[in-house]
């Protein structure tokens, strides 16, 4: 299990941020290479992420769902379950958002297997950390 913590700033009110992170069609494209394939229902979507590594890329397909939400404390857990397309690997994560006025924090608890994991935990932590950092920067404009 890899656990990472990040902060983000939007400069917008808590209620605005809350609506934004729970709107998967707005949130998922903030992940570089991420897109919604299909809304499954309220708070759940089929999605994919294509991670480019220069000439090569890896694609993970799966679901993103709002597994927990507390409207009073503005805390939500988004659960990601995905499998590597054309491979044996998977990437699962619980992403916990805790919002406040002007931004919030993100705690990511991820499990990754397959080719990506075979590069070693140090590589996975570096890439995942950089991906989430990029995500937080895009959240600023959500």
């Amino acid at each position: 299990m890899i656990e990472l913590d990040h902060q983000f700033t939007t400069g917008k009110p808590t209620d605005y941020n809350w609506d934004a992170i729970l709107d998967l069609e707005r949130l998922i494209p903030c992940v570089e290479g991420g897109r919604v394939i299909e809304r499954i229902g309220d708070g759940s979507a089929k999605a994919e992420i294509k991670v480019k590594m220069g000439a090569m890329s890896m694609k993970f397909k799966g679901t993103v769902e709002v597994a927990e939400r507390d409207d009073s404390t503005h805390r939500a857990v988004l659960r990601v379950k995905s499998r590597e397309e054309g491979g044996q690997g998977y990437a699962n994560a619980d992403v916990t958002f805790a919002l406040g006025d002007g931004g919030g924090t993100i705690h990511t608890a991820a499990q990754i297997s397959g080719k990506a994991a075979s590069m070693g935990e140090g590589v996975v932590v570096s890439v995942l950390g950089a991906l989430i950092q990029d995500f937080t920067e895009k959240l600023a404009a959500i």
Partner: protein
């Protein structure tokens, strides 16, 4: 100055009678995910003019970077396929070297019994900076050598991907392997 064992003449090299290759490495926290590349241009020409007159020998090289081809990629998360190699070349052509011509012109070539030492200027992406290298000559008339340069010295930002965690190393190696053949003087 002696011309050593290289006979005064104009030697012309290209892909049909010599090898010119470029090696790139990788760096960054996710370096293990990337590949070390061996690349060769398929359109280049070098002229090596050996003069008996002191200080008159020269080397000129012209490389069409639009002709690059990836020979091999080592390391990495998975083996490079032909499509991956083509995609790398596409990236080089579109985003890095943009099919420009690279030129080297010597300003000084010193010949010796075991080869030569050259100094000159390399023009890359509109910038010209000094480059020096030595080439060794073996008993069979094979001229070989390698040199390195830093992309950033020519204003190039090394290619990076995976959110900046995987980068092409700044230092690039160029190697040459040419046969002077029957024109060599023993």
């Amino acid at each position: 100055m002696s011309t050593g064992v290289i006979a005064p003449a104009v030697y012309t090299f290209g892909p049909s009678n010599a090898h010119l290759t470029v090696r790139t490495g990788r760096t960054g926290p996710a370096a293990r995910a990337g590949h070390n590349l061996l690349i060769e241009p398929r359109n280049w020409q070098a002229t090596f003019e050996v003069s008996a007159a002191e200080g008159r020998s020269s080397i000129a090289l012209t490389v069409d970077t639009g002709s690059l081809h990836v020979l091999e990629g080592t390391g990495g998360m998975q083996a490079l396929g032909d499509e991956d190699k083509d995609s790398i070349v596409q990236t080089i052509n579109d985003e890095i070297l943009k099919r420009t011509v690279v030129e080297f012109r010597s300003t000084r070539v010193e010949l010796g019994p075991d080869g030569l030492a050259a100094e000159g200027e390399l023009e890359l992406m509109g910038q010209r900076h000094p480059l020096a290298f030595t080439l060794s000559l073996d008993g069979a008339g094979r001229l070989t050598g390698r040199t390195t340069f830093r992309q950033s010295d020519w204003g190039l930002k090394p290619f990076s991907t995976l959110f900046g965690t995987l980068k092409v190393a700044d230092e690039v190696e160029i190697a040459v392997d040419a046969d002077l053949g029957k024109e060599r003087h023993d």
